[in-house]
Structure formats: structure tokens, C-alpha cells
């Protein structure tokens, strides 16, 4: 293939020679390093192809071997160029095409991120936009080093960034810190722990402070669990002073959560009629053009659009988006929920609720769900019993470190 392309670019001629002893001519060509190929004998002579550059040197060899020559055809780029040299509009079009390509190559038309799990593409793009880095800006104006630094300082979870401009793409590779973690600072401010929810205490691990409840106690929301006030006694058991400390403890309690989700008695069902219509769209900068067959029956349609950004090479993205639109006609009607659907929905509601609870790090002990019919509507109601930490820090604002008068002084 490269050889064929090379020959075409160089240009070659198909020649017919006649006379006695063409073999001598071919041997002379060989010694003179003239390239001949596809040599064949026909009734009216010998045909062969010869490179244009070598063809200009053929005359002495023909003379020596006493052959007559005729050009049968000309093939290749030099001849195409000669053929179209008077077509100025074509030349202008080709020239302007390359000019437009060159101008387009001066801008960034695609920004891609790699390795971002914690921060979404949209978050990062919004930030880049704040920093005046967006699609359509000059490539030369992108300061990759600055961008790397800015990203690292703005997003603390990003530990490593590499930004580079390749073609018309800005490629940003990110490595995020896998262990999400700000080290908890040790606090010394006096505080106490109160219950964040009502429940029955199951476990109590106190590191600092004084327990105000015991295991098995029922507590209400806001009730004090661990006190931050420590009374210091003298030998005779009298309170000398009260010291304020930072209460620190793990207080586990069995708590009950109730949830309810109400649904209407009827649901809207969309059924596909099987009719489809397809269309194409083109987006160039702020302009959008859509070609879609007209809808004569005035159905309701659900559209799915797939957008692809055009690119010439892997990294030469263009500001041109092609949309493939697929529409499906639907008919909607209302009907009551079936028993299976209600059960399915109740399972989903339950799973969602459990998932949210589990994310908080609680341990589920018991779980009851039921479907309640309320005439025109129905609801999913559930009760979950869990064991969780209920200690909530409440700072002690009053400064009341009292000291009893010393009897000895």
C-alpha cells in the first residue's frame, strides 16, 4: 500500500514500446536505474509503467534500442494537479479547508478527566470555568502548571494532578486520596454528651467525663448521657471544686425509627406503541440544527439523544457535535397498582431506607414493613430497631469552675 501511494504521489506513465528487441531496452533501463514495472507483451507491443521522474530520461535508451514509444495513460498526483490547476474555486476551497483546520487547532475543544471518582466531571468543569478554562479558549493560554496547582489546592482530596494539552484536548489526570480523612483534632473545650435520639442504652464506653446514665436506662432526646462536670472531693467527702472536662465516650443505644411513604392509588403507565422516529442533529457552537421527521398523529414521544463530538484524529477534537435522536411513541393511561407492584415498591422503599441507615454506620436489629391502604391512596410504613451511637456533643458555655474556700487558710 505505501508503495502504491508513493507511486501515485510521484506520478507515473503507462508506455507502449514497439520495435525489435525490447529486452535490450529493459536491460539498459536496469543499468541506468530507471524503474519499470508491470511489463507485459500485447499484440501491438510491450506495455509497462514508468515513474514520471525516470520517464524524462528515457529518450537515449529508446534511441539505443531503436524502439518507438507512445504514452498510453498518465496517472498520479502531478497530473491531477495539472488537470485542476485552472479551477481556482477548488484550489481556494482546499486552501480554506486547511486554513480552517489550522485555526481550529489553535483552540481547546474537549476537556477530559481521568481518575476522578470522588469529584464528578461537572464539579471539575465548573471549577475550571471559574478559572476561565473552558472549551473554545486558546491552547496557548492554558497554563497547565498553574492549573495543576489550583486543582490541588482547591480540592484537598486530590493528591496528584497532571494536565496537558494534546491536539485540541485538555487532558487532566487525577489521583484521589482513597482514605477520606481529615485527622480529628483533639478538642479540649468543655462539653457534655446528650442523647441525639430516644432509646435504651445498650453499651457505654467512657474515656473522659462522668456517666449520667447506666446500661438498660431509657433516655429521651436531649437527655444528658455523660456529664462534663467532675466534682472533686476532699478527704471528708465534700465537694472542693467542680472541674469542667471534654466529655468523650461511645454511648450505644437501641433506638426505633419509623418511616412512611405515601403513594397515590393510581399510577400513570406509559406504553410504547411501537412507532419510532429517528433524527439527526448538529451542534456548532451555540447553534443547533435538528432534522426530525414530522409527527402527523401528534403522539407523545420519549426521546433519547446520543451526542458524539467529532474528531479527526484521536486528539484533534472539533467544536462539532452530532446528535442521534431516537423517539419512541408512547400512550399513557392510569390504573391502580397491582399487588405485586405494591410489594415491589415497598421492598424498594425499605431497601433505600436501610441503605441510608447503613451508611450512617448503625446496626439493624429488627425491621418491620407493612403496606397500609387508605382509601384513595396507600402507604408503605415501617419500623426499624437499630443499635447506634447517640452521643451528641453539647458545649458547656458557662465558665463555672468553682472552688470552695480552703478551710486551712
Amino acid at each position: 500500500m505505501p508503495q502504491v501511494l508513493g507511486r501515485w504521489l510521484e506520478g507515473y506513465v503507462l508506455v507502449r514500446v514497439r520495435g525489435y528487441g525490447p529486452e535490450r531496452f529493459f536491460n539498459l533501463c536496469r543499468s541506468g536505474q530507471l524503474r519499470c514495472w508491470k511489463i507485459r507483451q500485447e499484440r501491438d507491443g510491450y506495455y509497462f509503467c514508468m515513474a514520471l521522474k525516470d520517464f524524462y530520461r528515457i529518450r537515449p535508451y529508446l534511441k539505443k534500442s531503436r524502439l518507438s514509444m507512445k504514452i498510453v495513460s498518465r496517472t498520479g498526483f502531478p497530473f491531477v494537479l495539472k488537470q485542476y490547476r485552472k479551477r481556482k474555486a477548488l484550489a481556494a476551497a482546499v486552501l480554506s479547508f486547511f486554513m480552517v483546520l489550522y485555526v481550529l487547532s489553535l483552540f481547546v475543544w474537549n476537556i477530559s478527566f481521568e481518575g476522578n471518582y470522588h469529584y464528578s466531571r461537572e464539579t471539575l468543569l465548573d471549577y475550571l470555568e471559574e478559572e476561565q478554562i473552558c472549551c473554545g479558549m486558546r491552547r496557548s493560554q492554558v497554563d497547565c502548571d498553574q492549573l495543576e496547582e489550583d486543582l490541588r489546592s482547591r480540592f484537598p482530596e486530590i493528591t496528584w494532578v497532571s494536565a496537558r494539552v494534546s491536539g485540541t484536548r485538555l487532558l487532566v489526570k487525577i489521583k484521589e486520596n482513597e482514605t477520606l480523612g481529615t485527622v480529628r483534632e483533639r478538642e479540649d473545650e468543655p462539653c457534655e454528651l446528650v442523647a441525639s435520639a430516644p432509646g435504651v442504652i445498650t453499651r457505654l464506653i467512657i474515656r473522659q467525663g462522668k456517666a449520667a446514665v447506666a446500661e438498660g436506662d431509657r433516655v429521651e432526646k436531649g437527655q444528658q448521657l455523660v456529664s462534663g462536670r467532675l466534682s472533686i472531693m476532699n478527704d471528708s467527702g465534700e465537694v472542693v471544686r467542680t472541674a469542667l472536662v471534654h466529655a468523650d465516650a461511645d454511648v450505644y443505644a437501641r433506638t426505633v425509627y419509623e418511616y412512611q411513604e405515601i403513594f397515590p392509588g393510581y399510577r400513570t403507565v406509559e406504553v410504547k406503541t411501537g412507532r419510532e422516529r429517528k433524527g439527526l442533529g448538529i451542534e456548532i457552537g451555540p447553534y443547533r440544527l435538528r432534522f426530525l421527521l414530522p409527527d402527523l398523529r401528534k403522539d407523545s414521544w420519549n426521546y433519547v439523544t446520543t451526542v458524539t463530538q467529532l474528531h479527526i484524529f484521536e486528539d484533534f477534537y472539533l467544536p462539532l457535535y452530532v446528535e442521534r435522536i431516537t423517539g419512541e411513541a408512547t400512550v399513557s393511561y392510569e390504573r391502580p397498582y397491582t399487588r405485586e407492584e405494591k410489594e415491589q415498591i415497598s421492598r424498594e422503599v425499605e431497601e433505600n431506607y436501610m441503605k441510608n441507615l447503613m451508611e450512617k454506620g448503625v446496626q439493624i436489629i429488627e425491621n418491620n414493613v407493612k403496606i397500609q391502604e387508605n382509601g384513595s391512596s396507600w402507604s408503605v410504613e415501617g419500623t426499624v430497631t437499630v443499635e447506634e451511637q447517640i452521643g451528641l456533643t453539647r458545649y458547656i458555655t458557662e465558665v463555672e469552675e468553682t472552688r470552695e474556700p480552703d478551710e486551712h487558710n
Binding site: 529493459f26 514495472w37 508491470k38 507483451q41
Partner: protein, 87 residues
């Protein structure tokens, strides 16, 4: 010539290097590829005669074409009937 062959075998060189023997490669019935040839003696669409240093190679067939030739090698295509060498 015999001395050259002996020298080539003593030096563990390929047999075609020192004496300038032609190397003929036939691929199916379509291609004959000859290396180390001297000149084209005659060329017709049913017979091609090639002169090598030590022998003459006669390729017979139908619709024979010289696909290309350079200073060292030549590729003959067509429907090959026979490849004969004669001194």
C-alpha cells in the same frame, strides 16, 4: 567454481553468496522470484528467459508479466507451467 563452493562451505556462508548462484523462489503457480540474475534475454507472454551468472533460467507459462525488476531481483507473475535451468 568448485573452489568457491568449498570456500563458502568452509566459511559457513550461504551457497549463493560467493559463486553468485541465482536463487529461484516459486510461489504456487503464480509467482517466480529470481535473485542474483544478470539480464533479461527474452521476454514474451508465454516464455521469459533470464540469464544468471552460472545458468540460464527459462520460465514458461501463460500471460506472463514482469511485475518489477531491479538490479538484483525480478518477479515474474502469470500462470507458470515450468521453470527450467540450462547452462
Amino acid at each position: 567454481m568448485g573452489v568457491l563452493f568449498q570456500a563458502a562451505s568452509l566459511l559457513h556462508l550461504p551457497q549463493d553468496v560467493i559463486p553468485g548462484e541465482p536463487v529461484i523462489t516459486v510461489t504456487g503457480r503464480r509467482n517466480v522470484y529470481i535473485e542474483n540474475y544478470n539480464r533479461i534475454v527474452s521476454f514474451m507472454d508465454n516464455e521469459v528467459k533470464i540469464q544468471a551468472r552460472t545458468c540460464r533460467i527459462i520460465v514458461e507459462g501463460k500471460r506472463l508479466e514482469i511485475q518489477y525488476y531491479t538490479g538484483d531481483d525480478i518477479l515474474i507473475t502469470g500462470l507458470i507451467h515450468s521453470v527450467v535451468t540450462e547452462s
